[in-house]
């Protein structure tokens, strides 16, 4: 026998020694039990988000928190787990069943139906934590994601694959914008995932009914961790949601995901961390709270054609306290996203709804995705609004305004009025273009402010009948041509006569 074989044989003996001891390597002992969370010793080789099992058959997920012990969130009935119980590592990352059968359904964070409409048969499983797709698989944002909200599509346009934050105090219409955007995806080849975190069941039911009535549940999945569920489930919810979104993206589809909201998500994580006595940092959040949201939002992207061409557009929502965007969680999420839509209580109560502060809201990448016709009218609109804001402040002091200043103020008032929009009534982009065209070309200057909304509705209907080639050009070529424009101008003038 050669030395080589001897060495191999001896090595095998040493290895056999370890293999015998291996089963005790992946087992831990429960040392503390909290509300839905346990701490365990041992489990030294466990990975973050790895599934574990308890003697009673319950599943848990490891949060790889510190060196000597592991924090585990229990999914399911935790009342029977006690100190001294053995915890077994499974070696698998927590998974969720995914498939087309989820469309139209409301599920919990493990993909189980909670809408009382029977079983969901899924075809695949996806891990809830996944490294975001690499740079070579990605492509820049250049396709629009129409929200149907005029102020957004015109001034803060969002592209497919973008991450745009919706931020504002409580009751400022954050959820309304997200829901309207989902409603507007009908016929847009988009799948939607709405992740509801810590909302009351009654609120969620209402919202689900709204989506169903609008025909939006056909392409939507709702993932919910309710207000009365343990923090552990709220913590998992957005990751479960994006895994479902990834299933559709991997099939080459475009997906819109809404996280409503990440403030409650951060609070759930803080609660878990405090229970596990992790050292609290700023605002009592644990030090890695930034990573909590960055690893989530990184999973939104647009794949290039070689990788299927799918996309995930993310609309995370953050609730601020008294408009303070410099608080810890808002600053973090602002730094991760590609822009923000600011909603303000003041505007909301002034009746400017959606209460979007268009001056402060930005979209860093969506501009390149805006269709040409919209870009054309939006440019003038932006200018009109900016001048209006300046003059409005100024005009409160002096009463003697020259004619051109007065005219600019009047134009501005009509612009603000035109951007108002009731809930559940998204507007098609071609219709937005019609009314914004009329505004920016001065056709609305002679219409009383209070009649703007009525005029808008009538004009759109009239244009559909009498400016058919304009509409056709926008729909097909995304931009009007000279003959189409002439036709629209004529239609607007004619309609003004009818309207008066």
């Amino acid at each position: 026998m050669t030395t080589k074989n001897l060495i191999i044989e001896n090595l095998k003996k040493e290895i056999a020694h370890f293999e015998k001891g291996a089963s005790s390597e992946h087992v831990g002992i429960v040392t503390e039990v909290f509300d839905g969370i346990v701490r365990a010793s041992g489990l030294s080789t466990i990975k973050s988000s790895e599934m574990v099992t308890f003697p009673g058959g319950q599943t848990g997920v490891a949060l790889n928190l510190d060196e000597s012990s592991v924090g585990i969130i229990v999914l399911g009935d935790y009342s029977k787990i006690k100190e001294g119980d053995e915890v077994k590592a499974t070696g698998k990352i927590l998974e969720i069943g995914v498939g087309d059968a989820m469309l139209g359904r409301t599920v919990d964070v493990l993909g189980n139906p909670i809408d009382g409409n029977g079983k969901i048969v899924t075809t695949k499983t996806y891990p809830i934590e996944r490294v975001a797709s690499g740079v070579i698989t990605r492509q820049g944002v250049d396709q629009p994601m129409q929200t149907g909200v005029k102020a957004i599509d015109a001034l803060v346009p969002i592209g497919r694959g973008q991450r745009e934050l919706i931020i504002g105090d409580r009751q400022t219409g954050k959820t309304a914008i997200a829901i309207d955007t989902i409603l507007n995806q009908k016929g847009q080849n988009m799948k939607c995932v709405y992740v509801s975190i810590g909302q009351k069941d009654s609120k969620l039911r209402k919202l689900e009914t709204r989506l169903r009535e609008g025909g939006a549940m056909d392409y939507t999945v709702i993932v919910s961790a309710g207000a009365s569920d343990p923090a552990a489930l709220a913590y998992i919810a957005p990751y479960a949601g994006v895994s479902i979104a990834e299933y559709f993206m991997d099939k080459g589809e475009d997906v819109l995901i809404v996280y409503d909201d990440l403030s409650k998500h951060a609070v759930a994580y803080r609660e878990i961390s405090l229970l596990l006595r992790r050292p609290p940092g700023r605002e009592a959040y644990p030090g890695d709270v930034f990573y909590l949201h960055s690893r989530l939002l990184e999973r939104a992207c647009r794949k290039n054609q070689d990788y299927g061409g799918g996309s995930i557009t993310a609309l995370p929502i953050i609730e601020t306290q008294a408009g303070d965007i410099s608080a810890y969680i808002p600053t973090n999420v602002i730094s991760i996203t590609d822009g923000q839509i600011f909603l303000e209580t003041d505007l909301f109560y002034k009746g400017i709804r959606p209460a979007i502060n268009v001056g402060n809201s930005v979209s860093r990448v969506g501009g390149s995705a805006q269709i040409k016709g919209m870009k054309k009218v939006a440019g003038t609109l932006k200018l009109d609004l900016a001048q209006f804001r300046e003059l409005e402040a100024f005009s409160q002091f002096g009463s003697d305004l020259d004619e051109s200043t007065k005219a600019q103020l009047e134009r501005g008032k009509r612009a603000v009025e035109l951007l108002k929009q009731p809930q559940y009534s998204p507007v098609l982009v071609e219709h937005q273009i019609v009314s914004l065209y009329a505004l920016t070309k001065g056709y609305l200057d002679s219409i009383p402010v209070v009649k703007i909304s009525e005029f808008e509705a009538g004009l759109i209907e009239y244009a559909e009948q009498n400016a058919k080639s304009f509409m056709k050009q926008i729909r097909e070529k995304k931009m009007w041509e000279d003959d189409g424009e002439a036709e629209l101008k004529q239609a607007i003038e004619d309609f003004k006569k009818v309207f008066a």
């Binding site: 050669t2 080589k4 060495i7 191999i8 001896n10 090595l11 095998k12 040493e14 290895i15 020694h17 370890f18 293999e19 001891g21 291996a22 390597e25 080789t45």
Partner: protein, 134 residues
Amino acid sequence: MAASRTKELAHVLFETTDGKTEAEEKKALKQFAAYLAKKGLLKDQDKIIDAYRQLYNEKHGIVEALVTLTERMHETTKLELREALKKKYKAHEVHILEKVDQRLIGGIKIQIGDTVYDSSLQNSLKQLQAQLLK
């Protein structure tokens, strides 16, 4: 496990055991096994050992040949084969592993690394069959 990582580990095993005293070798093997266990690599032991075997052979100029025949080889044939392979591979040593397999029908098949020299009757018949079916 990535192939490069397997090779790396095989290198470590080689460097820590080659030309060492028995005590040193024993200690190194213990540590190596403990390392594999800690990193959860015990399941990859076959791959690592394979890589090690290859590396060892390379370093020591050893060629391993798996020879398949329909009956045991004559000692003289074995000697001749060994000399021929030594020359061809400029090897220090040639280890011949013998295997008997009736399916060859006749002739000989020699495998070295991933190269196969097949002059078995089974192979000739297969080729003939392929020719005729064209």
